[in-house]
Amino acid sequence: MNETVNTWRLLDTGIRRAAENIALNRVLLEARQQDESPNTLRFLGFEPCALLGFHQSADQELNLDYCKAHNITVQRRITGGGAIYFDTAQLGWELYLHKRDLGTADMSAISRRICEAVARGISTLGITAVFRPRNDIEVDGRKISGTGGAFDGDALMYQGTLLIEFDVEKMLRVLNIPAEKLSGKAIASARERVTNLADLLGCVPSREKVIAAISSALADEFKVQFESGDLNAVEDRLYTAALAEIDHPDWVNMIALPAHDRPVRTAARKFGGGMLRVNIAYDRVQRRLKQVWFSGDVFVSPRRTLVDLEAALRDSLEDKLASVVTDFFQQRSVDMLTLTPDDIVSVIKEALGNAEVAA
């Protein structure tokens, strides 16, 4: 039986300034919403930059002095989630689709479907990558691709970063993540949370090989074929206006919140199985745990448990803390010696009640 295979466009826009890439996000989503663009898979690269999530504030999330001193551009994405550091050693991937091509309008289901397909593609390179809710692709508990989406009417864009090589120390210097003070321990701790293809494979895979792997997996998932293309005339026209808006301080500073509204709070306690320390980036206005970072030498098996718990706690409301932790441990078998889920809740609560340290 012959089946017609739909053709989607493949764009590779190479390495660009952050403003140009974000402007293209805006343009391609808008043109898709207007039915002026076909469904599109885009690959992209960035000159060194720090990218804020749409609703984030640079003062809260970034070490702006370091960014300025090291020519790291600050930009704002049109997608949600947290700030990221991006340079030429990472690959961006993006899908621009119409909801009718997905069979569902449920946002979490769409995220899962796309991430699982991309994870399968990454896995063909010789590693085992899997989707980790809500929006990560990970290898053995360590994040290798963070993702997020934007929608406009029935059009959507879903994008991710893939770490081909990655400078963890630079990430720690650029982002105000609630890790230990920058040190060998902090770098080792960060390496437990993120990984990259070069480290996993023992060599740097070619960009072409990675693109082929992801494209092939998405083609299989959506039963389509990809055909290389360029921006069309409508997109070219929209791009000029979009770049003028995005490549401007008013866009980058559109949300400017004081750093003291997002303090880092910390606590540590000794248990039978060792020391458990927790650092929390806390949204004081919404009373929300933006990011949690466990460290110390407490015994927990499987070892990835606390990193998974960090993912589960991301963006949790303070008043739902206990239920998130309880649900998390009910869903898995974990050996923590004498440490209990209630102990973990207790240390987090102690941190939230403690005087803040500098963000």
Partner: protein, 145 residues
């Protein structure tokens, strides 16, 4: 009150079904705007809300605010053209209010419409609400609130 696949859709409101947004016409002619329970269900817990500034004129089907849930960001679109009169400080402090009370305290903006009579005819209200949303949910492959 219409209920479609478990989603409450009060039939005294005016809806743009495609944009999943409602408008309530207040006694003084101003509008209160919000997301439908259906839109909230699709989005999941909303964690951020950034409204357009008070005083800004918004065209029909242009964004009155941007919301974020589960790392998805998108606009909520004006059902008719008008000026933003107020934004919701309670929602700014606790965006989950949009999910918890989408037709009450989770309202997004208040607007002064500039051409209600001319533009509101395209909105769905009353007995037509349930059927219009049933069609949309069917097209979206939606299971239920």
């Amino acid at each position: 009150m219409a209920t479609v696949r478990g989603c409450n859709l009060p039939d005294d409101l005016y809806y743009n079904v495609d944009n999943n947004v409602w408008a309530r016409r207040e006694a003084d002619g101003t509008l209160t705007i919000g997301m439908t329970a259906y839109a909230c269900s699709l989005a999941g817990e909303i964690v951020s809300y950034t409204p357009k500034k008070v005083g800004k004129e918004i065209e029909q089907n242009k964004s009155v605010c941007t919301v974020e849930s589960g790392k998805w960001v998108g606009p909520v679109k004006a059902p008719v053209t008008g000026e933003i009169l107020a934004t919701n400080p309670d929602v700014a402090g606790k965006p989950g209010t949009i999910n918890a009370d989408s037709y009450g305290s989770g309202w997004l903006v208040k607007m002064k419409p500039t051409n209600w009579d001319g533009e509101s005819g395209a909105l769905i209200t009353g007995g037509a609400v349930a059927g219009a949303f049933e069609t949309k949910m069917n097209a979206d492959g939606f299971g239920g609130c």
